[in-house]
Symmetry: C2
Subunit: 329 residues, 2 copies
């Protein structure tokens, strides 16, 4: 295992300390590294909290800031955070308008966020994100997994929260964005959890895992490595098959790297995906390309399509200032 | 070789087509993929042109846009662009105030940019970037190599050009920023040039290359993998030894990933580097953390320190809108 770390036991806390140094204008890290929160809160705004296992950086802490999250609770690598982290975060960032949890669909995350929501006596104030169309049930889930579409949900709900929408309206919006967002990924290599010290799974020299999860969970099938155009055709085809969009529909296209794939290759995938979407009569009106929901150093990528109307585009374009997404300010 | 590509012969053009799709609001790609330029030019502004081998994305095309470059000339992977690309770019973006070339110090790049400058009859309108303190001469250079500090030079000169500075003043500024900027990197793994099909060099399971170049060129020495704190100590120590800064000096710290290192590990390095700089009496006033000057999928990172005063901080903070760096707009 070759990693730029001091010790497998301190990688998370060392990284959070570095995040706090690098983005002191945006965020702070709570005592005992329990959560990351905005430096400055907006009184009366609904607080948005997400979280999950680490190793997917910049998700979620990299999306704390104006126009996205108020707090993020980091678990150990690929391990859910605990309810006490979520409760501490909620107590810290709730300025009176309530707290909405944005939760990726994994058994540990949903169980612990539900426990926190129950303890807050707000058991329904959660948006469940399940955009991965690769498999219906998986190693760590009942139902679809939550993957890179999380960025789009956090952005849309985050922008709407800045406008002062109510908690109920934000939950409705979050559910609606999730419904119209779909993703699927492919892995060319595995990744190594620091505490494990060896790769999570193995892929032969000429194999790829089609439909892989962001923890290296199995996808639909293991197949020989194919050309980018064929991979893009399957990923976009699966996503479009799930979304069932009308011709002429406008979308956001997110080509998301898993951490170990060069940006050059992601742009090759952008070109192929855009061509295939155009062929299906779908128009990409906004692009996001890069490493946003990663799996440590895994090579591969996912394609996310999110159907948008003028209101959604306005939310997407609204000012945002986080470690990983920034525009308009 | 496992890559998300169609063919080794089309990887560059496919990637440029994807870049053009993803960032159509900012840039266009010229016919025959000879250069990437801003969609909209500012009449009377000095035009800034950079370029070099591809495989370092987002450098340089990802820095085309308001507040940075006017055009970038991409060579094949790890191969210099040609003088005719530079001349075509200059003709396209010169709005009357002249063209300044920003060139990383590699033999092929300097020779070809010099030929273009001579043909334009402006042989001295070039800033030579040579921030890598690892080695004095190298595989492809006489003198120090140009590496991640290039981002800082392109940003500072780019911001100054928007203010309307003259070509002579911009060259003076670029030379000055280069002088006060130093970098050094480490590789944990090699990288594979698509057309070659096999790794550029080999590293044993427990080795790293200290002082590596961004094409995998040898650095100072090959040593056993060390803890992040020890790597950061050597990289920051070498950089500070070169810059000879006074205690109390303010700096920008760029922790740059080479493409295959998780963001989590880069933040571990930020934490260690910041601690070491503080120990030397140096204050980091701005951070940039991420994959900006990469070596395909190489694992590793570099540390860049650039000494700044209030004027330089104002240039850094000025609005920028490129594919890879964006704030204030």
């Amino acid at each position: 295992m070759k990693k730029l770390i001091n010790d497998v036991d301190t990688v998370l806390t060392d990284a959070l300390d570095g995040l706090a140094q690098a983005h002191a204008d945006i965020l702070t890290v709570a005592p005992a590294h329990r959560f990351v929160r905005r430096r400055t809160l907006t009184p009366g705004k609904v607080a948005l909290i997400s979280g999950g296992g680490s190793g997917h950086e910049p998700l979620h802490a990299g999306f704390v800031g104006h126009g996205m999250l108020d707090a993020a609770c980091p678990g150990q690598v690929f391990t859910s955070p605990t309810p006490d982290q979520m409760l501490a975060a909620a107590e810290s960032v709730d300025t009176g308008a309530g707290v909405l949890f944005l939760v990726k669909n994994y058994a540990g995350d949903t169980m612990n966020f539900q426990m926190a929501a129950d303890l807050l006596d707000r058991p329904n104030d959660t948006v469940l994100i399940n955009d991965d169309v690769a498999v219906e049930n998986s190693t760590y889930t009942v139902g679809r997994r939550g993957v890179a579409g999380t960025v789009i949900v956090e952005r849309m709900v985050g922008a709407a929260a800045e406008r002062g929408l109510s908690l109920a309206a934000l939950k409705t919006l979050g559910d609606a964005v999730t419904q119209r967002t779909a993703s699927m990924g492919v892995a060319l290599t595995s990744c190594t959890v620091p505490a494990a010290g060896s790769p999570t799974f193995t892929l032969a020299d000429h194999e790829m895992e089609m439909g892989v999860g962001i923890h290296g969970e199995p996808g639909r099938r293991r197949v020989p490595l194919a050309a980018a155009r064929d991979i893009a055709a399957e990923l976009t085809g699966s996503v479009l098959s799930s979304l069932q969009l009308a011709r002429g529909q406008e979308v956001i296209l997110l080509v998301n790297g898993f951490g170990g794939t060069p940006l050059m290759e992601l742009y090759v995938m952008v070109n192929e995906a855009t061509t295939r979407l155009a062929g299906a009569g779908i128009t990409v009106v906004r692009h996001l390309t890069g490493n946003y929901v990663t799996s440590l150093e895994m090579a591969g990528c996912s394609i996310t399509v999110s159907a948008v109307d003028a209101d959604a585009i306005a939310l997407w374009d609204a000012p945002v200032h986080t470690a990983a997404l920034r525009w308009g300010m």
